[in-house]
């Protein structure tokens, strides 16, 4: 009799939710919201940028003018022209040069940190590289403006130092630390047994790296490079300060250019909200968003590729 009673009493617990149960539910909800907020923000930003740029996009947008014209004359009162070809050329040339500098630099650093350095050296280097990655872009822009500028004028004997060369170097140095970090992670992810097996065959250290480690880390390294490219496209402040900000399709690295991002940053504050100029800047924003989205997605898919192998 008593056992039945206790059992019933015990069974009552099945219908009672305790404080622990509610806390668990609450935490679950909070974590869920944080988790999907990233998606909400990305979608939200995309919707906002698209809405702001929509007026121009649907009314007077001409594909051939927008992407085919090198004339960016938004302030012309009679016939403003919105061609971003020169701006694309500016961004592309600076990013391209930056990658030429950053790729060998960051891969070399990553190989040194992951494969050659040991103990304290490795720890210090890693911290230093991360510190480099944390330097604000305006500081880099400042270096471009005050140090690189006179240096380029003096060394190459050119009239202007705020050029593709200047911005490319600055951007390359900016992108290199992040690329190094990711490339190093990719190299570290290569199991040591691969290295040991290759070493046991009598391979030299370079042969081990070249024949075994690099091929095994290939995807991660590609991902690092693509993230660097994404960084180059998206960087604004340093590029604004170091390029010279002149609308121009560059003929050489000693020409000044203007980047897509820098154009938005410099002009948005001066346009009337809702005006055509304002809307065009947002259209550039959509374009940049799409490019960086595609680059990051590709990088992500590639990096994921290694894990599934």
């Amino acid at each position: 009799m008593t056992t039945t009673q206790t059992r019933e009493a015990m069974n009552e617990q099945f219908d009672r939710r305790t404080l622990d149960w509610y806390i668990d539910k609450l935490v679950e909800i909070i974590v869920f919201i944080s988790g999907i907020s990233a998606i909400i923000f990305v979608v939200g930003i995309f919707v906002f940028v698209t809405m702001e740029g929509m007026g121009f996009l649907f009314d007077s947008f001409s594909f051939s003018e927008f992407f085919g014209s090198e004339y960016w004359e938004p302030s012309d009162e009679d016939a403003p022209e919105y061609g971003i070809l020169a701006l694309i050329a500016g961004t592309a040339s600076v990013t391209g040069l930056a990658m030429l500098i950053a790729i060998p630099f960051s891969l070399g650093t990553a190989i040194y940190i992951a494969e050659f350095s040991t103990g304290k050296t490795r720890e210090y280097l890693k911290v230093l590289v991360e510190l480099l990655a944390a330097i604000p872009s305006v500081v880099w822009g400042f270096i471009g403006l005050t140090i690189m500028n006179p240096l380029i004028i003096e060394i190459f004997d050119v009239p202007v130092g705020l050029t593709v060369l200047n911005a490319g170097i600055i951007l390359g140095l900016m992108a290199a630390p992040i690329m190094t970090s990711i490339a190093e992670d990719a190299l570290k992810a290569v199991p040591d047994r691969y290295r040991e097996a290759a070493e046991a065959l009598g391979a030299t250290r370079w042969q081990v790296i070249y024949k075994t480690v690099l091929p095994a880390a290939k995807n991660g390294l590609l991902g690092a490079i693509l993230l660097g490219v994404g960084r180059g496209f998206g960087e604004t402040m340093a590029v604004l300060m170091a390029t010279g900000h002149a609308v121009n399709i560059p003929g050489s690295v000693f020409d000044s250019v203007r980047a897509l991002t820098a154009t938005i940053a410099a002009e948005l504050g001066e346009t009337a909200v809702g005006s055509e100029h304002y809307q065009v800047l947002f259209t550039i924003g959509i374009f940049l968003f799409l490019i960086t989205f595609v680059i990051n997605l590709t990088a992500d898919l590639i990096v994921r590729g290694i894990k599934n192998q």
């Binding site: 047994r193 040991e196 097996a197 065959l201 009598g202 042969q207 091929p215």
Partner: protein
């Protein structure tokens, strides 16, 4: 006067010893100690390994067998934490005085306990070592790859998919691939560290047959957890326990109970370990 006589006697004795040995010494290990940090993995190991013999090493886990192998191949350059003291003579040369460690490693084939299919095709896995040696000719490479895969009893299973990734083979196949890769070095010394862990019994027997043949071409060190495997294959056997080499001796003698230390018999007969 007495001194000279003594000297002469000693000399004669060592002469007779060396003629009695006949066999050339492949490895001469003296006072070998391997430590990680402050902890010694093996200490004061002394013995010789002769050419064209299979030298078995048995002993329970943590006996220092793998550390011993790593020291032979100078793998301590890979592990900053690993410290090796004592002397190892390979063909009479002190391996710690070599100017080119890669040349030594390329003459020692190693098969690790867990299979390592390098992330390249089956063909490239086996062709890697010949290529490192500078063989570029496709026909020679084909020939080496086929011969090594046949010897490691893998050829029939992979001959139609030499271009698939080596790391995608099954565990047992990867182990035989590792053996093929070691053979592709045409090594003077082949080290097998518990090669049969990931291989089924039938394949193990096939590989054992191959090892008996290979003995004519090279010296083989066989580390094994299977005491009976040592008995089947090894000419001489060393028993390692807790970082010490308890004894070495003729395999049959050890298994017949002619031991210096009773622990050896206890281990062989499965009373511990």
């Amino acid at each position: 006067m007495v001194d000279t006589m003594l000297e002469a006697m000693v000399q004669r004795k060592s002469e007779t010893e060396s003629t009695a040995e006949q066999k050339k010494i492949k490895l001469d290990i003296s006072d070998l100690t391997v430590s990680y940090g402050k902890e010694a993995a093996i200490s004061d190991v002394n013995f010789k390994i002769y050419e064209n013999e299979i030298f078995g090493i048995i002993g329970p886990a943590n006996a220092g067998k793998t550390s011993f192998l790593k020291a032979l191949n100078l793998m301590n350059t890979f592990d900053a934490n690993m410290k090796v003291e004592g002397k190892i003579l390979f063909n009479g040369r002190d391996i710690h005085q070599l100017k080119n460690v890669y040349a030594l490693r390329s003459r020692i084939g190693v098969v690790f306990p867990l299979p390592v299919g390098l992330p390249m095709t089956v063909y490239e896995n086996v062709a890697l070592s010949p290529r490192l040696r500078g063989i570029k000719d496709k026909a020679s490479l084909d020939e080496i790859v086929q011969r090594c895969l046949q010897r490691s009893a893998l050829w029939d299973e992979v001959k139609d998919r030499l271009d698939s990734l080596g790391s995608l083979l099954s565990g047992g196949q990867q182990q035989r691939l590792t053996i093929a890769r070691a053979l592709s070095q045409e090594p003077e010394l082949l080290i097998l560290d518990e090669f049969s862990i990931a291989v089924d019994p039938v394949t193990t027997m096939r590989i054992e047959e191959v090892l008996k043949e290979l003995k004519n071409e090279m010296t083989i060190i066989l580390v094994t957890n299977l005491v009976q495997q040592a008995r089947r294959l090894a000419d001489r056997t060393a028993f390692f326990l807790e970082g010490e080499c308890i004894e070495t001796g003729d395999t049959e003698a050890l298994f017949n109970g002619q031991v210096e230390n009773s622990k050896t018999t206890d281990y062989i007969e499965g009373r511990f370990g």
